[in-house]
Amino acid sequence: MTSTRVRRGAHSEGKRSERRLAWMLCAPAALVMVAVTGWPIVYSVYLSLHRYDLRFPGQQEFIGLENYAVVLTNSYWWTAFGVTLFITVVSVAIELVLGMALAITMHRTLLARGLVRTVTLIPYGIVTVVAAFSWFYAWTPNTGYLAEAVTPGSAPLTERAASLAIIILAEVWKTTPFMALLLLAGLALVPDDLLRAAAMDGAGVWQRFVKVTLPVMKPAILVALLFRTLDAFRVFDNIFILTSGANDTSSVSMITYSNLIQGLNLGIGSTMSVLIFIAVAIIAFVFVKLFGTAAPGSSAQGGGR
């Protein structure tokens, strides 16, 4: 008995020093994070509570939540918010379906697996701005090949609906490979025996997919959706290049940029960026708490916590 107790003591002693070492190893990274992420966030919140327009630097003063009242009662903000939500929901939905199809193709590919995966990833490897420019030129009337082929005689990027469609197309083209890659990792989690068992139990291809594959890979799907939703909500590059926010196609990031950098209104711009931060936090909260998405890196069985 005595020896057991001694050993247990030694064990927890070892655990404690291990924990101390862990903290020490984490500390530098944590400090850098606080410096480059924490401080800007705090400073944004600080700015958002002030009237601070660089064109009128003399009028700087603390005004509480007045900026928030201004932004939240402004129709431009809500239009941009609606556009952002629309782009997010539609593009993520399309990406999920296409990404799943791609992932299954990659999963089932027997020949030249590496080549197939590499080719699939090419769009994701291209810088967003570069890709956005290629879409922009492609849809420019008279010179663009897509504009000539699909909508001859009109300028799609000058119409709101067409512009949104093109923005979504550019987003989907660019990030579907990322989605596919995350889903591919999820597909690998479904044991072959499970699908064989389902086949023996009488399930057809579609039933196997819906009743076995999807539920088993649900954690991976939720992680992929979370990542993509957060990314899509902050859409900026494509809109900036394709329409510059013309015809009410601005996203929330886009009008934040307009106010903060172009309008030089630090107070209003910071307020908008804080609101985006809050929206993103809500999305993440909903995914993690309501859908039971496991944080990447935690145990594989994240569901139902």
């Binding site: 025996d193 499970l194 068992a197 086949a199 023996m200 009488g202 539920p215 088993v216 069985q301």
Partner: protein, 394 residues
């Protein structure tokens, strides 16, 4: 319930590897047939072809007289139990077992009745609402069985269903599996690499090696009359002893002394045009401590004296190991067997080893001389090149 017929079924993979070669097998209605062999012998491939999970390259599979080659697994009406159990992790035990019935669009009430009936038979009633992750290995195994039996399929296919259980539980499950199969009377094809499981469970055993059927027969038949060296060495534990022997003037000269050839054996040898050098096989239980054999019985047998190398006492019996001062046997089939079972004691090429089973009352001691009696009638002779049994036909 059904009769399963494999008619010259072969499986060749796209890379040209021949996994299964010309299997002819008829599994009778309600029969329990075991496919046994070392890993890589093609037994699981054969089972998967019956299931429809792998295509048949050539030959025909018939269930109840109907050709099945082109049917999808779900249209063959057979259930399968996997080694990994393959339980659906997102479903409760009840949903797992109900899954095949739900897919078959069985009425709700019937699904409930059949699942609860199966749960009762398998002693799972109190676990019906738990997830597989919260069950023990034995319980998961029973859920997998339950999922197979609720459907009342034509046949069960089982792919090493007990090999993930610990030894004691495996023994229990073996017994209950056997009882269950008898109760249901459902045709069953069962794959295992464990010869004990094969011997205890099967009505008939199919021994496979490198995609070829070595022998088909009842457990006792395979044990008593193995058709070749591979089967002889594979079936039985501890394994049969193999020694080199030479035929001389109607006698057989073995490391254990000269043994007269009976007329029956001599006729067989002549008919088979056997070589003079043979391999003789003797099972451990065909030996006995000479001191314990009655005088008149002793006369009929032969004895030899050697030093006991290792003595294992199991309480109910004793195993005496001898290292004989003669060379061990060399034969291709024994080499194959040693390769696949990983046992170096067969066909070592070194000195011959002999294992004998003695009564518990034997006074044998390690490193002491012991006179051992054996019955030469139980000798089995094999052709060293082909491995064929020369003592019995079939």
């Amino acid at each position: 319930m059904a009769e399963i017929v494999l008619d010259k079924v072969s499986k060749r993979y796209p890379d040209g590897a021949l996994a299964v070669s010309d299997i002819d097998l008829t599994v009778g209605d309600g029969e329990f047939v075991i496919l046994v062999g070392p890993s890589g012998c093609g037994k699981s491939t054969t089972l998967n072809m019956v299931a429809g999970l792998e295509d048949i390259t050539t030959g025909e599979l018939r269930i109840d007289g109907e050709r099945m080659n082109e049917r999808a697994p779900k249209d063959r009406d057979i259930a399968m139990v996997f080694q990994s159990y393959a339980l659906y992790p997102h479903m409760s035990v009840r949903e797992n077992m109900a899954f095949p019935l739900r897919l078959a669009k069985a009425p709700h009430e019937e699904v409930r009745r059949r699942v609860e009936e199966a749960a009762r038979v398998l002693d799972l009633t109190e676990h019906l609402d738990r997830r597989p992750a919260n069950l023990s290995g034995g319980q998961r195994q029973r859920v997998a069985m339950g999922r197979a039996i609720v459907r009342e399929p034509k046949a069960f296919l089982m792919d090493e269903p007990l090999s993930n259980l610990d030894a004691k539980l495996r023994g229990q499950m073996r017994t209950s599996l056997s009882r269950l199969q008898k109760q249901l009377g459902t045709t069953t094809v069962y794959v295992t690499h464990d010869q004990t499981e094969a011997m205890t469970l099967g009505d008939r055993i199919v021994v496979l090696q490198a995609g070829h059927v070595q022998q088909i027969g009842s457990p006792q038949h395979l044990y008593d009359r193995p058709s070749n060296l591979f089967v002889a060495g594979f079936i039985g534990s501890p394994s049969m002893n193999f020694l080199t022997a030479v035929v001389e003037d109607g006698h057989l000269r073995t490391p254990l002394g000269e043994v007269p050839l009976t007329d029956r054996v001599r006729r067989h040898l002549e008919a088979a045009d056997a070589p003079r050098e043979l391999i003789v096989g003797l099972r451990p239980e065909h030996f006995e401590d000479a001191a314990l054999v009655e005088e008149h019985v002793r006369e009929e047998g032969r004895t030899f004296t050697a030093t006991v190398d290792v003595l294992e006492s199991l309480g109910s019996e004793k195993y005496a190991h001898f290292a004989l001062e003669t060379e061990g046997v060399r034969a291709r089939q024994l080499q194959d067997l040693a390769d696949v079972t990983g046992s170096a004691d067969l066909a070592t090429g070194g000195t011959a080893q002999l294992v004998t089973r003695l009564s518990a009352t034997s006074g044998a001691r390690e490193n002491a001389e012991l006179t051992v009696w054996f019955d030469p009638d139980r000798l089995v002779l094999f052709d060293p090149d082909s491995g064929t049994n020369l003592t019995y036909e079939g």
